[in-house]
């Protein structure tokens, strides 16, 4: 192709059952309508996954798409979207990893990868430009992440590679096992590690020696330099460079929504041991994702000499406060264990915190108590290897609550455990969690920032929140086609301008948001096809019945009428029926009618 643009123009398809590797052209219509990243992943999943597919069966697929701008100089766009049907929730799942995997895949000449089937033996996928091979991975099957990464590097020989690896938790099919890149960066949520494990796919290693093009380099650089100066390297984003996500710990405590002791409190008395100041005192150095000046990553060293990149806010919240752990050394150990074994720190901290609460409240004795660092670290290992109490806890919080009578205390939606913002301290965030297609997720809408953390917009009311949540969800859906990071507060105008300059196809901000809305509705269609509906867009009983015991949100709960009215409003604004089904008119307007026929 002589036409210069940011797409490579081809997609890699790998069938693990037959070991057949094929190349297919980029579907131009899909690229036009769904751009890249999240959009392309959702389009493939909707097209190729038969309803009712068992997530851990060979029939499930994994779709990997960097954003359209991956490999360019545009900040944060080296990110990669990986999607599948989640073994934890049964919903559509899109999960994102930073680092350099997405950029490297583009330099190798691929816009994406579609993986089907199940290998008869452990393998890894090796990609070096057009050379693509399934290679024996039996030498590292059972090995933790970091050993595997080192082995992959040895196998690949000289020259930089970037890898995506499942750990022992994934091999053992723990439904909240993650995928890891560059040591400490994860597709964290929803259990992609388990899907890799079920397919006996240990890892993907990529070396790309080629280039990514844009239609007019001089124009592209002029546009980007202006956006970088005016809208990227500004106070709105430089918090990431200066402090990173640990900066959220103090405001979250002040707002009374910091996950504390199994989500029973909103303010953690031990937070000074694990807040930004504590992280700063243990700081070794900063580290960036590929092509990102914000460098939010932070290496810390514990007094025991253990080093980790992290802990990030979510890990501090769930592995720290939620387990009653205010000791940074223990938290660093937790972070390292989860990272090396391939576990999502959010779900892991949730399920351990839940077991602690159920133990403390006499619901079921797991032998786990708030703040017991030794038992908590042992639980992480037992979860990854599914032994001891891990045999139960490894199923996730919903399963544990149902089996042992903890339905009244568990915090999850659609089976995905809560992130580190207690929605009793930010009501809009409860709606954001509940309407997220992959279950309780803080990234699709971060309305908590506006309503509680950095300004206070009636945190204990749903008034006006449905519209804010929808605006975030639509914007983020197109943003994650770029893929732009959550930590860049980029506008639809800049997204549209940069995508236009990269693809060569003019796009307005309005069109960009329309594509975001289209993608959001496509995710809804997938979930409806799997039997999800209004009943699944409900917060757990604890938000209605169990007020927090301390902090500024103490004593506050949702009312049924209040929440139902907010959900009605959300559906109406979305152009969905009262049951949460997009109307024919909505689908028509978004160009999705043909998909439901």
């Amino acid at each position: 192709m002589t036409e210069k643009r940011c797409y490579a123009g081809k997609v890699l398809r790998v069938d693990l059952t037959s070991a057949k590797i094929t190349t297919e052209p980029l579907n131009e219509q899909w690229a036009h309508d769904f751009i890249g990243g999240k959009g392309m992943v959702f389009r493939y999943l909707y097209e190729e996954l038969a309803p009712g597919t068992d997530p851990l069966s060979p029939a499930n697929i994994v779709v990997i798409f960097p954003g359209a701008l991956a490999g360019t100089i545009v900040a944060t766009t080296a990110r990669t979207c990986v999607g599948t049907r989640s073994p934890l929730t049964g919903t559509i799942l899109d999960s994102y990893v930073g680092g350099g995997f997405g950029a490297m895949l583009k330099y190798a000449g691929w816009d994406g990868i579609v993986i089907t089937g199940q290998s008869p033996r452990p393998v890894y996928l090796f990609i070096e430009d057009n050379r693509v091979e399934l290679r024996d991975a039996s030498a590292v099957w059972g090995k933790p992440i970091w050993d595997t990464e080192n082995w992959l590097e040895e196998q690949a020989g000289p020259g930089r590679i970037v890898t995506l690896t499942a750990g022992p938790a994934g091999e053992n099919l723990v439904p909240f096992a993650c995928l890891t890149s560059e040591g400490y960066r994860q597709c964290g949520r929803g259990g992609l590690g388990a899907v890799f494990g079920s397919k006996r796919l240990k890892a993907i290693a990529v070396r790309g020696t080629g280039a990514v093009q844009v239609p007019d380099m001089a124009a592209f650089m002029a546009l980007y330099k202006e956006i970088m100066r005016e809208h990227l390297l500004t106070d709105a984003n430089l918090w990431a460079f200066q402090e990173g996500t640990p900066s959220i710990v103090d405001p979250a405590n002040t707002a009374g929504l910091f996950p504390t002791r199994g989500f029973t409190q909103g303010e953690f008395d031990g937070k000074d041991g694990i807040n930004s100041a504590a992280i700063q005192a243990a700081l070794v150095r900063r580290r960036a994702c590929t092509n990102c000046p914000l460098a939010c990553g932070r290496f810390t060293r514990s007094r025991r000499g253990e080093v980790v990149e992290g802990p990030e806010y979510e890990t501090i919240g769930l592995g720290g406060g939620n387990c009653g752990i205010g000791d940074l050394d223990a938290l660093i150990s937790f972070n390292r264990l989860c990272d090396n074994l391939g576990l999502d720190t959010i779900s892991t901290g949730n399920v351990i915190g839940l077991a602690m609460t159920m133990t403390e409240e006499g619901i079921h004795d797991f032998g786990l108590h708030y703040g017991d660092a030794e038992a908590y670290l042992q639980a992480v290992e037992e979860i990854a290897y599914r032994r001891g109490i891990g045999a139960d806890l490894s199923h996730g919080a919903r399963w544990v609550a149902r089996k042992y009578g903890g339905e009244g205390v568990v915090l999850e939606i659609k089976g995905l455990e809560f992130p580190a913002y207690d929605p009793r301290g930010a009501f809009g965030m409860g709606l954001a969690y509940a309407t997220s297609e992959r279950g309780a997720c803080h990234l699709r809408s971060f309305v908590v920032g506006t309503e509680a953390l950095y300004s206070t917009l009636n945190p204990d009311s749903f008034e006006g929140k449905p519209a804010l949540v929808i605006a975030d969800q639509n914007l983020n859906s197109i943003k994650w086609c770029g893929i732009f990071c959550d930590f860049w507060a980029i506008t639809a105008e800049d997204i549209a301008a940069l995508l236009s300059a990269g693809t060569g196809r003019p796009m307005t901000a309005e069109e960009a948001l329309r594509i975001g809305e289209r993608i959001w509705n496509l995710g809804r269609l997938f979930n409806l096809r799997e039997g999800f509906g209004r009943k699944d867009d409900m917060p757990p009983p604890a938000l209605f019945e169990r007020p927090l015991r301390n902090g500024v949100a103490a004593g506050k709960t949702y009312t049924r009428e209040g929440y139902e009215a907010a959900l009605d409003e959300y559906y109406a604004l979305r152009g969905w029926t009262r049951d949460g089904v997009p109307t024919p008119e909505t689908l028509e307007a978004l160009g999705l009618s043909e998909l439901v026929r």
């Binding site: 020696t209 900063r286 580290r287 000046p293 460098a295 990553g297």
Partner: protein, 133 residues
């Protein structure tokens, strides 16, 4: 000359893209005259480009005299007409700062972009700085 402050390097590789875009009009880290080396697990990051070191052993290592230095402190000049792609200069550099472009088969050394190095503009952490010689 370019100066490197390794403790500040975050391993983002933006310098490579800025360099390749300026010299070749495409985003291609393997064509850059400046490269970052990163060990992700340890977080070790370092960036290196030719800074026209006084010894410049690459000059005498080149069998065809393609590498010259116009003056003290000036960036090296590599004549693509003369360079035969033998790569003798690459291991000769004690700083690992001589690179090679597989596409055109000639050696790559930093030319300071004629006095306004593109990589510096993209190095927000200021691991790369520029001062006129």
């Amino acid at each position: 000359m370019l100066k490197f402050h390794q403790k500040l390097c975050t391993g983002c590789h933006l310098c490579e893209l800025a360099c390749a875009a300026a010299h070749f009009g495409e985003f291609a880290p393997t064509r850059a005259r400046i490269r970052a080396t990163v060990r992700p697990q340890e977080g070790d990051c370092r960036v290196m480009a030719c800074f026209s070191c006084p010894e410049a052993p690459c000059i005498s290592a080149c069998p065809v005299g393609a590498i010259t230095r116009p003056g003290r402190g000036q960036p090296l000049s590599i004549d693509p007409q003369k360079c035969n792609g033998c790569r003798a200069c690459v291991p000769a550099c004690p700083y690992g700062a001589m690179y090679f472009d597989e596409r055109t088969s000639y050696a790559l050394a930093c030319d300071l972009c004629g006095g306004d190095p593109e990589c510096v503009q993209f190095c927000y952490p200021q691991a790369i700085t520029y001062a006129e010689a």
